[in-house]
């Protein structure tokens, strides 16, 4: 798994690439939590993720909880069908703010209210 962080419309976007599984998810978790702890609004871009297992999803859950308690925003972008299946199985597709694309997020951000 590799990652890069970019800035977009007031969000820190974490692009994850490759497999997020039992061996790589601790690293993903660390990156996500650090980014949120730095009081950034965070989006996790899953377009490059081929496979995400429940340890990866658990890290996203932890991140979302931390963002909520710190009053920052958190969301998922470009969720692939495979990742969506895993989220749906745990009924988490209704919990996370899921955005179709970064542009969609930007539009919402420009029109407050």
């Amino acid at each position: 798994m590799t990652y890069k962080i970019t800035q977009y419309a007031g969000y820190s976007v974490i692009h994850l690439e490759g497999d997020v599984d039992l061996s790589t998810s601790p690293n993903a978790r660390k990156i996500i939590l650090e980014c949120i702890e730095a009081k950034n609004n965070v989006l996790v871009d899953l377009s490059g993720v081929d496979y995400i297992d429940s340890s990866g999803v658990a890290s996203l859950v932890e991140g979302y909880q931390l963002a909520k308690s710190g009053n920052t925003e958190f969301g998922l972008v470009n969720v692939s069908q495979a990742a969506l299946d895993v989220l749906q199985l745990a009924r988490l597709d209704t919990v996370f703010p899921i955005h179709l694309s970064l542009d969609a997020v930007a539009k919402v951000a420009k029109e407050p209210g």
């Binding site: 599984d21 039992l22 978790r29 496979y51 495979a82 199985l89 745990a90 009924r91």
Partner: protein, 268 residues
Amino acid sequence: MNKKIAEPVVEVQSLVAHYGSCEVLHGVDLSIQDGEIMVIMGGSGSGKSTVLRHMLGLNTPTSGVIKLLGQDITHISASKMDALRRNIGVSFQGGALFNSMTVGENIALPLREHTQLDEKTIRIMCRMKLELVNLAGFENLMPAQLSGGMVKRAALARAIIMDPKLLFFDEPSAGLDPVVSAELDELILRIRQAMKTTIVVVTHELDSTFRIADRITVLDQGNILMVGAIDEVRNSKNKRIKDLLERRAREIKIDAEEYLNRLTGETG
């Protein structure tokens, strides 16, 4: 991780097994494809549990090859077998939850033993699996406090905690009422749908078999009678399979003289 494996996920070739000096499997061949739900069906004494124990590496075969995820488990080093087991989940007939641990500890055990995940991640993963099997909020109970259906669901949660590629199921419906059993079948289908897991179910329950199976293997007295899709098995002309489907008792031909000798204990 998601690489397409061209070869079957489970491949059993001419498996012969003995209990003591009694041969119980007479050359079983089996091939299960990626993402398939294969039900191994048969009456008691058909050898289906024995086949399962060999596929799990709990028994050593007399001869034959058993390949799981491309690796021959009859000729594999202990450490490779350990690594392989992390990709395999098993739900036992009676659940086999560890009675000295809470439900949550049971489910988390594979993660605690095999991974370096953060304790928080482990706890979230456990709760996710408990949600999935509709046992949310039961993590601090002891297995003895659960009903039969709940034990099975907790056992399933433990079996899938590591997101295995291959899931074995021993008698999922045994001892459950029809409604609970149907729910469990539904769960099996959902898991396959979401995680693309290859699932092997060993059972004698017909209703359950026809609900979940992609293909069915019918075992009888240590031999494979047939392998086929649901309809093929339903329309089979084979007498033993018809008996099984219609729940008919086995007809036993009586040799009058031999029978008499058996009763009186005379030999010859």
